[in-house]
């Protein structure tokens, strides 16, 4: 379970930075980019306590 959450957490970080990169190279629209970033934000805070060492404490 912890491994899955950790993978999801890193996926969340990916959602924070990959969509802006795709927007920069004009492969993604602005609203979609912002939507993915928001999803990444929620996913990060939901999973980070298990992904970061000591985060759950």
């Amino acid at each position: 379970m912890q491994t899955v959450l950790r993978i999801l957490a890193f996926g969340a970080l990916g959602l924070t930075v990959v969509p802006p990169f795709l927007f920069m190279i004009q492969q993604l629209g602005e609203s979609a980019m912002k939507g993915w970033m928001l999803a990444g934000t929620f996913l990060w805070f939901a999973t980070a306590p298990w992904a970061l060492r000591g985060g759950a404490r």
């Binding site: 924070t16 930075v17 969509p19 802006p20 927007f23 920069m24 934000t41 805070f45 980070a48 970061l52």
Partner: protein, 483 residues
């Protein structure tokens, strides 16, 4: 180190103050009582590995105030070379300061700055240092509340956002927003900031990536990847600081922490002095990449939306425009998680003046001052100046420690004078700190010199004066004490 809760979240960045230093040894933070080794060297079993330091420095130097500092460089007309190379050089000098000035002393004695100072200058003078720290913390936290309020205000059109030129509250709605935020932060600080510190810890990697995202989006919107071209100010926009201004700012925005020695409290947990290199994570991620990404936000608004660079734009609307809700959440969390421990520690500093005062009362006083300061955008909008004042005011005590450690014996001076004589007040330290500082404030107020230019002269003068004054005032006392 944060993982093990050995150190509190120290707040933000250049503003990352040595918060643990404000805590009098007799009033340890409740969350950390018993494991901070405040009046004894850190024992070998409590030492931490290098990853804790890399993580901590990377996290604490990416904060809400970064959203202000990057755009302020643009507003000040700093050109591309000065910014890109000046920041590189200044941050490198900051890292070297941590590595070769702070870390060796921290790992040699393994004491907090507070306790080391107390042994040299006595408890009463440390209380004075705490007071200065507490007051400066209040204004710093006020700036963080201001930054957060610009994000909270985005969905509410009645709130008039401050510009870089604003020093007074913009309208009643702005005051209400800051008041509500400040009250909330103060309430949380009174309850203890453990939860907020944890959120800050969790948010750190994500916050850095939001800065990167802002930079990427701006490059996309500006339609070029040529940073040099983008960061070149428009014709006729005169630069307020040049290459050396950027170098000295980047070097000394954390002066209180490295040459000012407040990071003794952090690095005393390091196994080796080489852990001082970990500060590079904070400097080159937070104070290089994040500042440049934040600067691009204002570049876009100047070029595409016709904003006057000297008027600037509040961070909230710029980040909202760039990355939407994720950006607003980032600005609020960045401000909140850094302002909260600042208010908490300022409260403890005030409490140290009146030991009978409860911590809650001290925090309430600090929170009230912070909130009032936050209503006035002056501090946030003049952050480049304020950070220089902050560093120059607090860093000189580090020169006293440096002189004590490396030169006192060579000059035949007493070491740890206050402990040796049982005195609670060392006039040599007070004069050595106050005289250069008085000259500095006079020069700043009369000539308007950029404060970061004067940090090093004030620091060196303090060290030299301490050696002279200790010789003149304590030479005989020390001989008696030794005899």
């Amino acid at each position: 180190m944060r993982d093990a809760d050995a150190q509190p979240n120290r707040g933000s960045d250049c503003c990352a103050t040595a918060m643990n230093e404000t805590v009098p040894a007799s009033t340890p933070s409740p969350a950390h009582a018993g494991d901070e080794f405040e009046r004894e060297p850190v024992p070998p079993h409590a030492l931490k590995g290098p990853t804790a330091f890399w993580g901590m420095y990377a996290g604490e130097h990416t904060a809400g105030t970064e959203f202000m500092i990057g755009p302020l460089f643009v507003a000040w007309g700093v050109n591309a070379f000065d910014l890109l190379v000046g920041l590189l050089v200044g941050n490198l000098l900051a890292v070297l300061s941590w590595r070769y000035i702070t870390a060796p002393i921290a790992t040699r004695y393994r004491l907090t700055l507070y306790y080391q100072l107390e042994r040299i200058c006595g408890r009463k003078l440390v209380v004075l240092y705490n007071l200065a720290n507490g007051i400066l913390f209040c204004f710093l936290a006020g700036a963080m509340i201001t930054v957060s309020a610009t994000a909270v205000g985005v969905p509410f059109p009645h709130i008039q956002m401050p510009t870089f030129q604003d020093t007074l509250p913009t309208n009643a709605a702005w005051c209400v927003t800051v008041l509500a935020l400040g009250a909330l932060m103060t309430f949380v600080a009174i309850r203890g900031y453990g939860f907020v510190a944890r959120v800050g810890h969790l948010a750190a990697p994500w916050m850095f990536l939001v800065f990167v995202a802002c930079g990427l989006v701006m490059l996309g919107k500006l339609g070029t990847f040529n940073l040099v071209e983008l960061l070149t100010p428009a014709e006729g926009h005169e630069s307020r600081i040049g290459f050396w201004g950027v170098v000295f700012f980047a070097w000394f925005c954390n002066a209180a922490m490295h040459i000012g020695m407040s990071d003794l409290s952090v690095l005393r947990f390091a196994r080796k002095p080489s852990y001082g290199w970990a500060s590079a994570a904070g400097m080159f991620l937070g104070h290089y990449i994040a500042w440049i990404c934040a600067a691009l936000l204002l570049v876009y608004w100047v070029r595409e939306k016709g904003v006057d660079p000297s008027q600037g734009m509040a961070p909230g609307p710029m980040v909202w425009d760039a990355v939407g809700w994720a950006g607003l959440i980032c600005v609020i969390i960045a401000g909140w998680t850094t302002a909260n421990p600042t208010i908490y520690r300022a409260g403890l500093a005030f409490q140290s003046l009146y030991p009978r005062m409860s911590r809650a009362t001290g925090t309430l006083i600090a929170g009230t001052i912070c909130t009032l300061a936050g209503m006035f955008p002056a501090v946030a909008m003049k952050l480049l100046d304020f950070v220089g004042l902050y560093g120059t005011t607090l860093a000189p005590v580090g020169a006293v420690i440096l002189a004590e450690v490396y030169l006192a014996r060579r000059f035949g001076l007493p070491q740890e004078w206050a402990t040796a004589t049982g005195s609670s007040f060392n006039p040599a330290v007070l004069l050595a700190w106050a005289i250069p500082l008085g000259l500095f404030y006079w020069a700043y107020l009369h000539w308007g010199i950029f404060p970061s230019y004067l940090t090093l002269p004030v620091y060196l003068l303090t060290g030299v004066l301490y050696l002279i004054l200790a010789r003149v005032l304590h030479g005989r006392t020390a001989a008696t004490a030794r005899g």
